[in-house]
Assembly symmetry: C2
Homo-oligomer: 346 residues x 2
Amino acid sequence: MTDDTNGDLKAPSKVRLIEVAQEAGVSRSAVSLALRGHPSIPKRTHARIQDAARRLGYVYNRGAANLRTASTQTVGVVVHDVTNPYFAEIVAAVQDEMTLHGRVILFGNTQECTTRQAEFIETFREHNVDGLILCPAAGTQADMVADIQRSGVPLVLFSRDLPDADVDYVGSANFEGMQSATAHLIGAGHRRIAMVGGNTDTSTGRDRLAGYRAALGDAGIAEDPDLIVEGPATRDFGMRTIRALTTREPELTACVCFNDVLAFGVMLGLRADNKEAGRDFSVVGFDDIAEATLWRPALTSFGFSRQELGRRVAEMLLRRIAEPNSPPKRIILNFELRSRESVRAR
Amino acid sequence: MTDDTNGDLKAPSKVRLIEVAQEAGVSRSAVSLALRGHPSIPKRTHARIQDAARRLGYVYNRGAANLRTASTQTVGVVVHDVTNPYFAEIVAAVQDEMTLHGRVILFGNTQECTTRQAEFIETFREHNVDGLILCPAAGTQADMVADIQRSGVPLVLFSRDLPDADVDYVGSANFEGMQSATAHLIGAGHRRIAMVGGNTDTSTGRDRLAGYRAALGDAGIAEDPDLIVEGPATRDFGMRTIRALTTREPELTACVCFNDVLAFGVMLGLRADNKEAGRDFSVVGFDDIAEATLWRPALTSFGFSRQELGRRVAEMLLRRIAEPNSPPKRIILNFELRSRESVRAR
DNA sequence: GGATTGCGCTTGATCGATTTACTAGATCGA
DNA sequence: TCGATCTAGTAAATCGATCAAGCGCAATCC
């Protein structure tokens, strides 16, 4: 079997419908219909044809089919960073759902570069994708979305909103989520609460900050600009920030963080000063990444299911492909409290 | 231009070569040749044609072209888990390199399921990919590789080796790497060293375990089966394992981990028992993922560049596509020590 | 008994590009 | 001035499937 003295030595994958037809003693069309399970071909013939196809090692040529049919059964997925587990999880979920519907994914990773993003979209259009799923790179203009829509390619955006675009979108309730997170601390008796990290360059950052402010306002707590520290979402920044803050603000008893990574930094920073989250200070994270459970103390966080988001995105695109002219829809997933050990009532 | 009071109102993407030809006053062939920069079309005509194409918003239809040409300019990439940053980084690197060569990626995530894997490969073949890149799911048989090869589709495997397959492969020196990692601890004065995680289902697991054993042997340290704990590569498993081990084995002063994720779990587990890596216990990770630097204490690990691996995989596939009959090649990348804070000499 | 319908297929056109073979006219060398 | 070569294209065949239209025969209907 591994030696190729002779064997059938089937010519590598050059079997076409017509060869199968000859083998089965029918016409091309009969084979085409049979293989796609058309009812006009009776069972016996169908079996005979399928047998012939198997014998010859026939491989369906979708490229050829696509030339006649409308759909290519492909969709483009463009994200800005698969290396980030948040997006990897979403891509995986989209992939799952699309596979379930027999579609294949053309994948593009833009690395936050709008030029690359435009190239992927262009190439995917040349490949005739049935639709596009996109988390726009920072700096994406709303009119590029309009361009895609005008060209007639179904499009769904996720996670990052584009203010002026009238388009299908699946995202999360950043404002309400951060509002709840802050309210959670207020409910636990805290009054001086810092907001660590995030910035106003993206809708995500703006919305979360606004949620924090709203919660303070609701509770009648005056906002103190000194307690809002914008910055990168890194462990290191969280660590430095909390040490500076607690030194400067002895009354501070809690903080909300733009995301979990910052919260881990905060917890490390506290420990460096011999304080412990959940005992001497309360910390709430955001996004509920996998690590949140495993940390000691386990991090209280607000999160939503990335898997659900991915699934929803896929479903939404399939719907738009089916009904290209239905009005744009928005789905916003809610954050839920995952209460753990890093918060203490006072 | 942005307002569509009337304007050209271009029929969504139904512009074909022939329309461009009419617009430019030449034949279909001339347009085809011009757009691909064929020298027989002079500059002036070329410009006129390109102008016409732009005016009409022509989109190249690769599907149609593929029917005539050999190549589809697509390659399939199948991994078992994008959610794992290790693979995400490789996928991103492969993507980059392929984009550089004008190729697009069909992407499949198998979730370690050989059935899904087979489906992806089948579908990708129907889509006429020029080649396949695969990190085989656990339990993949060597003859499925042989099947793909027989069918004439260029194939490159990475990261996980398939013992009996005679195929292009890019991987890492797992044996030597783990041997160095263990030797590193021995060099720091440790004698009782555990091996946490990994299993013998994959070549990776077997090789790393063998490397650990070899290093012990080289140093004349007797192997203790109680110190070898196989298991899944999760934070949680690392955490539980180290707690059990340190309770049971008071003499234990260090461990090597199958990968960094396990090492993080080990560090968390130590902390849960009021021990600290780098002070009370020494931990060496494996793979050197991005997080290793960010952790406190920063994790000492052995790694190689995933970007390089991805690039090499892509290059190797492109080479095989160009020379389908060249003998299979293997590239093995070496692990390098990234010494940080989680190891302490004694 | 003639018309209609249904079954199980086939024929031939077609999708939108590429490619081979060819040609009208210009240029050139002898 | 004649044949050869070059230039700038064109016409037609082709890739491998799909699909609309149709065909021969038998069964059914009125």
